[in-house]
Amino acid sequence: MKKQHFTDPIEERLKGVSRRDFMKFCGIMAVSMGLPLGAGTQIAEAITDPKRRPPVIWLHGQECTGCTESLLRTSHPTLEHLILDLISLDYHETLNAGAGHQAEAALHQSVKENAGKFILVVEGSAPLKDGGKYCMIGGRPFVDIVKETAAKAAAVIAIGSCASWGGVQSSPPNPTGATGIPEVLKGTTVVSIPGCPPNPYNFLSTVLYFLTFGKLPALDEKARPKFAYGRLIHENCERRPHFDAGRFADMFGDEGHRLGYCLYKLGCKGPITHANCPAILFNEVGAGAWPVGTGHPCFGCTEQAVGFKIPLHTQAEILQVTPDAAHAPIETEKGKGVSAGAAALLGGIAGVAIGAGAVITKNLGKSDEGE
């Protein structure tokens, strides 16, 4: 297959996805969720069945569209594959072909037709101050639209830090009363995919998991999928050995910084931020494609009360300062030695054998004499 290039005519690029690329995508999704590889096949079955392809309604509130932008830049799958083949994206204010009343009509029709079946994705926070008038769509407050649509959704996903807990605009003094969607929809399970922007694969994996298995993946107490937010960045960071060895960058551009030492002293929030950034990286461009990898301290965008709240260069409070007392062994155990029981057993056998031998010899001697 010819390699695609952005200068190719759009028709050519949209021509289709090879089976190999498709299975690769499903496999990547399964692996990034820590599922067995066989789950890739299940995912493939789920998304090739047009009846199971989920309608997705995507609402924008107070945000910068960064989440959408990062999603559009995935290459596994490509944007066109995602919205045409994998999900049925019925409403998305950035990607809608139509506008105004036409778009609104599409939203209402989809909500009505797919009631109880569609996945609602909310990007951006909802302003609650002054009756929600700081974010109006089609003449209605965003918060009302969210509540109304969520009531009919099969699952609600809050994508990005804004939707998860308010994001940058919720930082004091928070003039619009920006509030995260879980707060707005109290009583409903809202899966949070925080991050600024979040890794698109964490979002895609969550959607595909729901689609394949008919339930949400395991969530932590902040309703974040555990497969993506179960570990601290500090735990999987490629610079962790420098931290353990006490090698730090003391200021930007110093020798330690240039040598790729730990960025903790520059205010890295890795030790208090839960996310899988160091494990799955961004944009499929290879090693180092994440903030710390490029030499910038993590600022904790995925962690409520860290990102946009603690100043960038304030050092994080570390709960576990010292490195592990013992590391996972790199050698297998090289066999086992004598156990007391085994030695006793062998001794017993030898004793019985010697005894029996002596008795037999003696008896043989007797019968010899008798002859």
Binding site: G335, G337, S339, A342, I349, G357, I360, L364, S367, E371
Partner: protein, 375 residues
């Protein structure tokens, strides 16, 4: 002519019950092995993938089972019909030794459910020594059962079937001599691949020859041993004269073996390792002293008329061949720095259970089937 007869008597003797108890306990460990895997019961590791189940149950077990082969060699190849009275008990010991070695392999092989694949021609690797061993041992177990069938047929009184079988028995007797010659030497060939991992005291291009010679004198040793034990336990005709003659032959073969063994180590220039005083050197000395002493004893004609001396010599020879195989397979084998192996409790117990069932079967067979000739 004296006919073989069942010895009769009680089956549930204290010896039998004790063996039964050991076997039942070992069943628990066998169950544990099949439910939780090899690691739960054994100390085998990537460094020592072969523990005592291979070294003792299979390699030594089948060597103990060479009594039938070694006697058949004398009787049929060298035409010494006088040893015929010893053949049937020896054949029976071979039968148990080999059949249970097969059982031990099933317990030992990690993925035992794949084991049948070795008998499928399209999966065979003709360059593998283990394939040769597996096929030969498998075939020999069948041959042994066929060779032993007349005993069952006598018991059942099926005389027609017996005389028919007798007509084609020569085929099985021939196979019964061919197959052990092939695989007993191959059991030595197996360790050729170990190369420098096996101490130079044992690793040699002559491994197959040494294994073959030692299995033959070991087979004779087992026959003497077993006849002495049975004669002491049950009223049997006095065979000391016959055993003495057999022991003389054995002593001569041991002499040949020792010449080859020492010449080989000396020519390769490793004899100094034997006197280093370390474990390997001492094991080498022990193994060969256990042969040298009985050989010296048996070369004196007067000694060959004394049953206790014949018995002790046979024990010594059996031990020597056992130690030799243990040295080749475990003690002299060093897979690399830091690896160690000593059988685990459950591992030893399973081996013991297999020996126990062998003894039980032996006792049952000689009491209920016509194995021994009575006086």
């Amino acid at each position: 002519m004296k006919e073989e007869q069942p010895l009769g008597g009680k089956i549930l003797t204290p010896t039998f019950l004790f063996c039964l108890l050991l076997f039942l306990i070992s069943l628990l460990f066998i169950g544990k092995r099949f439910i939780y895997g090899l690691g739960a019961v054994t100390h085998m590791s990537d460094g020592y993938p072969w523990g005592i189940w291979i070294a003792f149950d299979v390699v030594i077990g089948t060597a103990f089972g060479c009594g039938g082969y070694a006697l058949a060699l004398l009787i049929y190849v060298f035409n010494k019909g006088e040893y015929h009275p010893l053949l049937r008990p020896a054949l029976m010991t071979s039968l148990f030794g080999y059949s249970l070695a097969g059982v031990a392999v099933v317990i030992d092989v990690g993925r035992y459910w794949q084991l049948y694949n070795i008998f499928l021609p399209w999966y065979m690797n003709p360059n593998s020594v283990l394939l040769e061993v597996a096929l030969c041992v498998g075939a020999y177990v069948v041959v042994l059962w066929v060779e032993f069938t007349p005993t069952f047929l006598t018991k059942l009184g099926a005389d027609t079937a017996k005389s028919r079988l007798k007509k084609i028995m020569f085929i099985f007797i021939a196979l019964g001599i061919l197959l052990p010659t092939l695989h007993q030497s191959s059991l030595g060939t197996v360790m050729l691949v170990a190369g420098s991992k096996l101490s130079p005291l044992w690793w040699t291009g002559l491994l197959p020859l040494l294994f073959l010679i030692s299995c033959i004198f070991l087979g004779w040793g087992i026959v003497v041993f077993e006849s002495c034990v049975s004669a002491q336990r049950y009223t049997l005709p006095d065979e000391t004269h016959l055993l003495g003659k057999l022991s003389a032959v054995m002593a001569w073969l041991i002499a040949v073996y020792l010449v080859v063994r020492f010449a080989d180590v000396a020519v390769r220039g490793h004899l100094n390792l034997a006197f280093k005083g370390d474990l390997l050197g001492n094991m080498f000395l022990l193994e060969n002293l256990l042969l040298l002493v009985p050989m010296g004893v048996l070369f004196v004609p007067a000694n060959r008329r004394k049953a206790p001396l014949l018995f002790l010599s046979a024990v010594s020879v059996v031990l020597a061949a056992t130690v030799y195989r243990l040295n080749c397979y475990i003690i002299g084998f060093n897979p690399g720095d830091g690896w160690r192996y000593f059988p685990a409790f459950g591992e030893i117990f399973i081996s013991m259970g297999i020996v126990a069932i062998e003894i039980m079967a032996f006792l049952w067979f000689i009491k209920r089937l016509p194995v021994y000739r009575r006086g």
